[in-house]
Point group: C2
Amino acid sequence: MARPRKFDDETRAALIRDTADQIVTGGVESVSLRPLAAKHGCSTTAIYTMFGSRDALIEAVVYESVGSFTRSQESVPITGDPLEDLWELGRAYRQWALKYPALYVVMIGRGGKRPDISPEEFTEDSPRMIAAKKAIESLFKRVAECRAQGILGDYPIEEMGNSIWAGVHGWVSIEATRPVMIGQDPDAAYDRYMQSLVRAWAPTPQQG
Amino acid sequence: MARPRKFDDETRAALIRDTADQIVTGGVESVSLRPLAAKHGCSTTAIYTMFGSRDALIEAVVYESVGSFTRSQESVPITGDPLEDLWELGRAYRQWALKYPALYVVMIGRGGKRPDISPEEFTEDSPRMIAAKKAIESLFKRVAECRAQGILGDYPIEEMGNSIWAGVHGWVSIEATRPVMIGQDPDAAYDRYMQSLVRAWAPTPQQG
DNA sequence: ATACATATATAACACCGTTATTGGGGTACT
DNA sequence: AGTACCCCAATAACGGTGTTATATATGTAT
């Protein structure tokens, strides 16, 4: 019915990988279509038929990155000690973000586009929101287990989960945007910070 | 010794104000020198002698915004109840960020530039770092007062201050980048979140 | 009066994302 | 077989960007 596609899904994946690398090494703003096309032996219009626009290409990278992040979260082993698992989950969260700081910023911060009014990608149950939910699902599961075992108090899972997530994100995003965090031992400081976030939702004596 | 300056500090301030407005309404990436120059009846080269580059202009805006944010923090009254003052400080923090989300993102997130290796503006005691320190000084003071009154435990001020700040920033930055936060009553949810951050550093029975 | 230093304007440079135009390559129907 | 059709990709153009080389104006110092 039409001219056959010269570039298959493999080239599409290669473009996404290359753009992700570019974001990691040079930041989002360094992503440029002409050099990218040249590197892959195609024209910019080919990228346009594959993705639609530069923003859409970056959105594809973000989507892929969320997947990578999610896999890194899901690969944290479950030991049976939900609190220890929670620490490991938090450490993996931070490690991923510090390994790809520019990706983390883009994927959680919408790449610096105007934040107030929002596009369709943030409607409930858009692919991106589903992926985002899945990304923090491991965290919520451990929180639920901790509550079931009395390690956390009888607060709503969603409230505790969102709070711990927001707290972790705050610390990590500061570390990811600035050169170094305060203190001599960032790893230990982060551990103590995580502990404080969890301590905040400890059972009260009445809750026993 | 040279040709007299056609544009004084007033025009410089006007340029900063205008650029800040532009960031607020259209995001950083919408800041463009040619329209800006035309609006102020000068050429782009005039902007270059005044600021040096587009990035430097935005950096000037950021510096000014940090000042505005700091003033908003410092205008929170001191009632004598340090814990209540802390809540008000946290509320003012969030209100400023939600009023100027794009500014908040740029001022704390470095405008989406590559975050890993860092420029000179982040060296200890650079003007920007001094301004940043001053911006959260009110928070640290209240934390210290709370500890002095036994509302907070005997932890290092810096650890408690940084933790609460990171936590607040995490929540607020999520709210500032996404359209709406989860939950029906965002204000109340944020209040409960702040309470959890402070509860984490409550005195232990031994400390009490 | 002349030399020098600097602020500004004009115009150019090298790029950018995007798109109109053109052509190539296949299917489907006559 | 021929032809109409449709889609993909390449070329080239459009309008825009930040930045800078060049030229000019305007002052001070000699």
